[in-house]
Symmetry: C2
């Protein structure tokens, strides 16, 4: 079933559909809606990873942010990391920094941190970045797999502000438009590129924003 869907997606790519249409088809074919607000896309995005698709996503982000100077890519563990690394290849292999969610003997004591409420995990957690890896004046592109209510993004923005770094833009694979985070970010004048915006999932039917 998965293999068939994958071949179908590849075939459609060859037929000249745009990258965003390929991604949207993949979401429709492989995505599983749980309740009205959880979209499971773990067959290609956040448990099993389709490396070729991530490279296509990297190209699409490069196309959108081609006029921006990007010094660094910032993401958040865990599922953002693979995406950010493959995307970075399309931005001259700039360093990727991932915000950590758990304390560890390996993490510096000298960190920027912020509090974030997780919608999928139903609890608050800290996001942390070592002060060594974000510098004042750096142009930072934030990359993540999902954007829902935007709480994680607020945490990353807070950290960038603490560092005096500049948020050059935000690249998101799937925005859950009905949860408001994306509109809030756009409303604040931030250059946000979401490759697919899901505006509703009522009765398990995924509707994209035009």
């Amino acid at each position: 079933m998965y293999a068939v869907a994958k071949r179908l997606t590849k075939w459609r790519t060859l037929q000249g559909l745009t990258k965003m249409e390929t991604l949207k088809n993949r979401i429709l074919e492989d995505g599983v809606v749980l309740g009205n607000d959880i979209l499971k896309v773990d067959s290609f995005l956040n448990h099993q990873i389709d490396v070729e698709l991530f490279n296509e996503i990297g190209k699409a982000f490069k196309e959108h942010f081609k006029d921006k100077k990007i010094d660094k890519i910032l993401t958040i563990e865990a599922s953002g990391i693979g995406l950010a690394c493959l995307v970075a290849q399309h931005f001259n292999c700039v360093p990727v920094v991932f915000a950590k969610k758990t304390e560890s003997l390996n993490l510096d004591k000298d960190i920027y941190y912020s509090e974030v409420y997780s919608f999928t995990k139903k609890k608050s957690y800290k996001v942390m970045v070592s002060k060594k890896y974000l510098k004042a004046g750096e142009n930072v592109l934030v990359i993540d797999d999902f954007l829902a209510n935007g709480k994680a993004m607020l945490g990353l923005e807070d950290i960038l502000n603490q560092a005096g770094a500049k948020l050059a833009g935000v690249g998101i694979v799937i925005e859950k438009g009905f949860q408001g985070g994306g509109d809030d970010i756009r409303g604040r004048g931030i250059d946000l590129k979401s490759l697919a915006i899901v505006d509703s999932m009522e009765d398990g039917r995924i509707k994209f924003r035009e």
Copy 2:
């Protein structure tokens, strides 16, 4: 200081040192030893990520495992994910699956799981892979940034056994040889490739195995 070290590393690469020597130099230049057993390499491996270096690492793993059929790459969140994605590009972009450490609304109920003791976090945790993403007979290459006492690897092997998948080999960036996990894995006849094996870190001096 970091930039100088990076340029130096690049210069050495150009001078024809092998990839493994480049990695070892980077560990010597940027690595920080804490106590006798913690090696911090978060400037390029597990907090900030050097995407070009990860691609070189991918090439080195491909060179070692070139005669093996690899259907899938398995790693463990979080720091293994970026590495596994970049390595996968050198293995025909096979899918990457990362074992999860935390339960989530997004994770299937139908999972393989195993218990692992974390040396850096000083506690046990569960590693989980959805049954959908590991199949009987698949040839799986396990990729991770660090190998110490080998507990995480035992957890992944347990999961592969439950799935009936085959462990084709293990690719590790830094093995802490003095913690025994690597010798144990080799002793069981598994094809383990560690790009750098640190045999001691006494008084903060890193010594590699020849």
